[in-house]
């Protein structure tokens, strides 16, 4: 299994570094002929996770983005030092009102095959897993 990690300051400016790093790693993972939308969907989930993490941290804190992968799966982790959060407490977006915000976790859950969130002393870790080969989404 291969792995890459980057540490980012918890500031919106870091989204640029995070995106460049993500694009580079996705290229390494998927190679020259990626399945349609797969790279975009991974990049989108990462962008949503990084934005959420940065918004829930103080600017002096750090966010760590990590990728590990083999031929079948990629596992992406986003560690932050922000406040505790539980996935079951995050509501679905208000689709009827066409809300301006609140779509991030919904998008991540829709695009990724498995999503978990662990809280620990001094921070939390979001883990997103995506299958890289064709197949049914795990139940």
């Amino acid at each position: 299994m291969k792995a890459r990690t980057i540490e980012l300051s918890a500031m919106l400016d870091s989204l640029r570094s995070g995106a460049l790093f993500t694009d580079e790693v996705i290229g390494e993972i998927l190679g020259d002929s990626p399945p349609p939308h797969l790279g975009y969907n991974i990049a989108l989930a990462v962008s949503e996770a990084l934005t959420n993490a940065i918004r829930h941290c103080k600017s002096s804190e750090k966010v760590i983005l990590g990728f590990s992968w083999d031929s079948e799966h990629v596992v992406i982790t986003v560690d932050d030092q922000g406040c505790e959060l539980h996935l079951e407490d995050v509501p679905e977006p208000d689709f009827e009102d066409a809300a301006e915000c609140g779509y991030g976790l919904y998008i991540i859950r829709t695009l990724m095959d498995d999503v978990t969130l662990e809280n620990f002393t001094g921070g939390k870790r979001l883990t997103m897993t995506k299958r890289l080969i064709e197949g049914n989404k795990p139940s």
């Binding site: 919106l12 400016d13 989204l15 640029r16 995106a19 939308h37 975009y40 990049a43 989108l44 962008s47 949503e48 934005t51 918004r55 977006p93 689709f95 066409a98 809300a99 301006e100 915000c101 779509y103 991030g104 919904y106 998008i107 829709t110």
Partner: protein
Amino acid sequence: MSITHNQEGVFTIVSMAGRFDALCAREFKSVISLLLEADKKRIILDMAQVNFIDSSGMGALVGGLRGVAKEGGEIRIAGLIPEVHTIFELTRLHRIFDIYETTAAALAAG
């Protein structure tokens, strides 16, 4: 992301290029505010060169749409690449925007 605009008859065409995320949302909102101050309320967003959008970018578009509608104007969206169009559908926000394949089609719609 880069944002430029030019006038085509009654429409202001706002051409956007690059990545549209939380980092660019404030700039977009600022451009829309300036256009409204200049009484330019009929806007076409040419997004053909936007190669990435996330929910923060989508939120900025919704905010822009509401701000323009409040002033009696309109926003039309043109030129979405398939990946970006998918996010409109995923968030179901395609229902609140007038979306056209090209800027020419948006202009021709009257």
